[in-house]
């Protein structure tokens, strides 16, 4: 005997999802932390099962990929010319995948409906929910193993990477190629030379004014002029300090420097365990 009229079980599942989403959202707010990874995203993604057309608006399980803007970076901070094409490709890839999820959602819902109306139905809401999960996984497995679906996933990943590359998002270290750095240094040196020249002129002009003045000017603290004297010596001293020479030990102490400058991972191989 089915305690829930057939017309209402879909609504009951929908209400269940809604209540879970509300409960989880409330728990997250009150606890201050997310107790589950991406759980709300999932519930949101598969919410409102009574309306299959609305089930997969979000990107279930692919939240990282579905949000192409990590952290606080937003598309409005990036010039449209640079990322427009990549953004379009990404949107199209995501839309295509969402369409596939929509089909999976509809088919899962259809199989659940058939099972509940033609076979002996599960007699409580929990059992129905489990059945919906079962058919969902079943349909998903069928689709996910297909070549077109695999193509949609890889295209979404590739499109996101392309978008990030266009926008300069990522953690990649600067290239080993020093050309851009050299150009930037050359420009900086050129600017420095120009400023030095200007400074020198101003100082000379100031000195001329001072000597021609009838009253001695109040002595201002003189900033030492920017100098390039002995840059290499200063640099090498700094590097030696960075290399890890202990402050208490003189750099020339035999053995000390060798021990601290470079750790040799294989050195402990002969007796890695003291016991």
């Amino acid at each position: 005997m089915n305690p829930i009229p057939p017309a209402n079980w879909a609504q009951a599942l929908a209400q269940l999802q809604l209540q879970f989403a509300t409960t989880l959202s409330h728990a997250e707010r009150t606890a201050g932390t997310r107790p589950l990874a991406n759980l709300s995203d999932w519930l949101q993604a598969f919410s409102e099962p009574a309306d299959p057309t609305a089930t997969t608006a979000q990107a279930p399980g692919l939240a990282f990929m579905a949000n192409p803007w990590p952290g606080s970076v937003s598309p409005v901070t990036v010039g449209t010319d640079r990322w427009g094409v990549a953004a379009t490709r990404y949107r199209e890839a995501l839309a295509a995948l969402q369409q596939a999820w929509l089909k999976i959602g509809i088919e899962a819902w259809s199989r659940l409906h058939d099972a509940l109306t033609t076979h002996e139905a599960a007699d409580n809401l929990r059992a129905r929910y489990d059945l919906w999960i079962y058919y969902g996984e079943q349909v998903f497995a069928e689709q996910a193993h297909s070549q077109p679906y695999a193509g949609l996933i890889s295209e979404l990943i590739n499109a996101q990477v392309a978008l990030h590359l266009e926008c300069g998002i990522g953690n990649k270290l600067p290239s080993d190629d020093p050309q851009p750095l050299r150009r930037a240094l050359a420009e900086a040196h050129s600017r420095e030379a120009s400023l030095r020249s200007e400074l020198k002129k101003l100082q000379e002009s100031h000195d001329d004014d001072s000597t021609s003045s009838p009253e001695p000017a109040k002595k201002a603290p003189v900033r030492p002029p920017l100098s390039r004297k002995k840059p290499t010596k200063k640099k090498s001293t700094k590097q030696a300090g960075r290399a890890g020479v202990p402050k208490t030990a003189p750099a020339s102490t035999p053995g000390t420097r060798k021990k601290t400058v470079k750790q040799k991972p294989r050195a402990a191989k002969s007796a890695p365990d003291g016991s």
């Binding site: 829930i4 009229p5 209402n8 079980w9 609504q11 009951a12 209400q15 269940l16 209540q19 879970f20 509300t22 989880l24 728990a27 606890a31 932390t33 107790p35 589950l36 990874a37 991406n38 759980l39 999932w42 519930l43 993604a45 598969f46 279930p60 399980g61 692919l62 939240a63 990282f64 990929m65 409580n124 809401l125 929990r126 489990d130 999960i133 969902g136 996984e137 998903f140 497995a141 996910a144 193993h145 070549q147 695999a150 996933i153 890889s154 590739n158 990477v161 392309a162 990030h164 590359l165 990522g170 953690n171 990649k172 270290l173 991972p265 294989r266 191989k269 002969s270 890695p272 365990d273």
Partner: protein, 348 residues
């Protein structure tokens, strides 16, 4: 909507709310139950040894090699769910290679660096501690693939090899992950991110079973209300699942292209550090443990080893469960470690 449905829904939601409230009170759960010490470390790895006391020296040693993805703590989740503790109970002296998080300047670390250098250092260190010339290797998941490559390249250093839920043939029909990533432009990905974000891998793993890992897990949580121990276990599992380390870019690209995309290992086309990796070079005894309901590494992907390994002493051990269940389920705790230990001890 009927009154019955309303009440049923409300009751479930109330139980879930209670579970979540209790879960929030637990705080961050501790993982890693068994006593251990770091006996050796280098750039990119730490070598741990479990237990204490001189009796370890009498036990049969085993060096466990875990995957780069996720943390090895799932092997030692809590006292009652610890493959490591059960292996020790069964009389083994357990060592574990723990890969450390790649730093920004580790982007160019290669797969060969991990296998031919870091793992080799751990093997040598274990041999030194045990005053032996060979080791028993136990590779888990991706760590199993590492162990296979290592055993093929350093045949003189491996006495026995155990692979657990290890992918060997990456192109079996039922390997969903392999289907998905074959079209990914890995080089471009690495050129963008440097080290590949762990969050990316996490999302991909969850996407393999969206309904089960999303919807069902949420509802099952409602059943844990007022059960402190099971909530603790749930929290530990969630912590482990969410904690995916970033992947050193070059090594990630090597693994994906060589194995997931080209399936080089079973084709005999894999090259590491300029040396060809041939599975038929492995002559030591092999125990291949796989899970029949593994959605990440299908049993077929693991069982392919039988056709490619060059050893005459090859044994299989099937577990009726999934990829995670083989580490943490009570059934696995009772079944796997004693059989692994017995297999090893008869071949010492």
């Amino acid at each position: 909507m009927s009154h019955t449905a309303d009440k049923s829904t409300e009751a479930l939601a109330a139980r879930l709310a209670r579970s979540l409230a209790q879960l929030a009170q637990l705080g961050v759960p501790e993982i890693g139950a068994t006593q251990h010490e770091t006996i050796f470390s280098g750039r990119g790895f730490r070598l741990l040894r479990y237990g204490s006391g001189p009796e370890r020296a009498q036990a049969c040693p085993v060096l466990m090699v875990y995957a780069l993805v996720n943390r090895p703590w799932v092997l030692d989740l809590e006292p009652q769910r610890s493959i490591i503790a059960r292996l020790m109970d069964a009389g083994l002296d357990v060592f574990l290679v723990e890969w450390t998080d790649p730093r920004q300047n580790d982007q160019s670390t290669t797969l060969a660096d991990y296998i031919c250098d870091m793992l080799d250092q751990c093997v040598d260190a274990t041999c030194a501690v045990r005053q032996e010339t060979t080791v028993n290797l136990l590779g888990v998941c991706q760590g199993g693939t590492f162990s296979l490559c290592y055993s093929a390249l350093f045949t003189h250093k491996v006495r026995n090899l155990i692979t657990m839920v290890t992918p060997v043939d990456f192109h079996t029909e039922d390997n969903l992950l392999s289907h998905w990533v074959r079209g990914v432009d890995v080089e471009r990905m690495v050129s963008c991110y440097g080290n590949v974000p762990g969050a990316f891998l996490n999302a991909l793993f969850v996407a393999l079973q969206p309904f089960r890992l999303g919807g069902k897990k949420a509802l099952d949580l409602a059943d844990l209300a007022d059960d402190h121990d099971r909530l603790q276990t749930f929290a530990r599992m969630e912590r482990w699942i969410a904690d995916s380390p970033d992947q050193a870019g070059r090594a990630f690209a090597d693994f994906l292209t060589m194995l997931f995309q080209r399936n080089s290992l079973v084709k005999g086309q894999m090259v590491l550090g300029g040396r060809a990796v041939r599975l038929d070079d492995i002559r030591c005894p092999i125990l291949n443990v796989y899970a029949l309901a593994d959605h990440l590494v299908p049993a077929t992907a693991s069982r392919a080893l039988a056709q490619h390994a060059g050893c005459s002493d090859y044994t299989e051990l099937a577990f009726d469960g999934g990829h995670i269940g083989i580490y943490v389920s009570r059934h696995a705790q009772q079944q796997i470690p004693p059989k692994v230990a017995a297999w090893l001890q008869t071949r010492q």
